[in-house]
């Protein structure tokens, strides 16, 4: 009944929070000192409540395998990925509504707002993310948060590589 507790607490917060708290929780961006610990506690809550160690990118692996291996179609990772989409939708919905948009912040002004360029750059970037995450055996969640928290050397090396390449790429992209 943990799922019910999760849904009920979200519902209770939405219905009962006084206006200022409501605004801070559901409309404004969470400050880092609130959001960081919230995600850290999520890691612990997920491990305790569902027995899972947080990691997202291997779910994409299962999604690919599911095409020819029916066994992986029941993978918890796939269900979790579906939940992530729902969570984003819930956040936007409660903050004022979902408005589908092609806009992508400063990318539009600094790089390009042409849909084709975006499709190519985001698709290409996605390929790098997918390939890189498998080669490195993890992504921002599995290596960057949980692996570093466990002081695993491989995760600190991977996260260092993420950051170095990210800083270089962003400076090239926005040059």
């Amino acid at each position: 009944m943990i799922w019910l507790a999760i849904v009920a607490s979200l519902g209770a917060a939405w219905l009962l929070a006084p206006p200022a708290v409501h605004e801070a929780l559901f409309v404004s961006r969470w400050p880092f000192w609130f959001g960081g610990p919230a995600i850290g506690l999520f890691v612990l809550f997920f491990l305790w409540g569902d027995g899972r160690q947080l990691g997202v990118s291997s779910g994409y692996s299962d999604a690919c395998s599911a095409a020819f291996d029916p066994g992986t179609r029941r993978s918890w990772r796939l269900i979790f990925l579906v939940g992530l989409v729902g969570g984003g939708a819930l956040s936007a919905l409660l903050a004022g509504g979902i408005e589908p948009t092609l806009a992508m912040g400063s990318f539009d002004t600094a790089v390009s707002s042409a849909p084709l360029t975006k499709a190519l750059l985001f698709g290409g970037g996605g390929v790098l993310i997918g390939l890189g995450a498998r080669l490195a055996d993890g992504c921002t969640s599995g290596h960057g948060i949980v692996g570093t928290a466990l002081l695993a050397p491989a995760s600190w090396i991977a996260t260092g590589a993420f950051m170095v390449a990210g800083v270089l790429t962003a400076h090239l992209l926005f040059a």
């Binding site: 960081g36 850290g40 160690q53 997918g130 080669l135 991977a158 590589a161 926005f174």
Partner: protein, 153 residues
């Protein structure tokens, strides 16, 4: 299964609320002008780290009464190359595997391209990458075998 779905929902909600799905927040982090997400990741790491250390030390059990299994990822040949590719993709798209899905839910249509790319990249690894890794590993084994032979000789 519904429990895992609820946890996914909660994590997707957190990623969105904390601004990890915002292109500008990621760009600002990599351009070294906005440290909001550095604070988020850093504090998440500290809180998770303290909790995981207590769980490990005390051997605590989960809600189902099973031991909580905590695994550390191992070093592997593609770690640095993969990490660099991942970081480049993260900066190009302002998105990582989890936030891409959360963005899709928020209504950010470009996430469709990113997600399609991540799936393609993962498939590419499953076809070509695994083969490449095996080549790298066998090369390494070959080297060490030669080294052992020369030592004994």
């Amino acid at each position: 299964m519904i429990r895992t779905l609820a946890f996914g929902l909660l994590f997707g909600f957190f990623l969105s609320r904390v601004g990890a799905t915002d292109f500008d927040a990621i760009a600002g982090m990599f351009l070294l002008v906005d440290f909001h997400l550095v604070g988020v990741i850093g504090l998440a790491m500290v809180v998770a780290g303290l909790g995981l250390a207590i769980i490990e030390r005390r051997g605590l059990r989960s809600a189902d009464g099973a031991p909580m299994i905590i695994a550390r990822k191992a070093m592997k040949p593609g770690l640095i190359v993969g990490g660099l590719l991942f970081g480049a993709g993260w900066a190009m798209t302002g998105t990582c595997p989890g936030t891409a899905l959360s963005q899709l839910g928020e209504g950010k249509i470009t996430a469709v391209f990113t997600i399609a790319g991540i799936v393609a990249g993962t498939a590419l690894y499953q076809s070509v990458g695994v083969w490449l890794e095996e080549r790298l590993l066998s090369l390494r084994r070959g080297d060490s075998a030669r080294a052992t032979t020369s030592e004994t000789a």
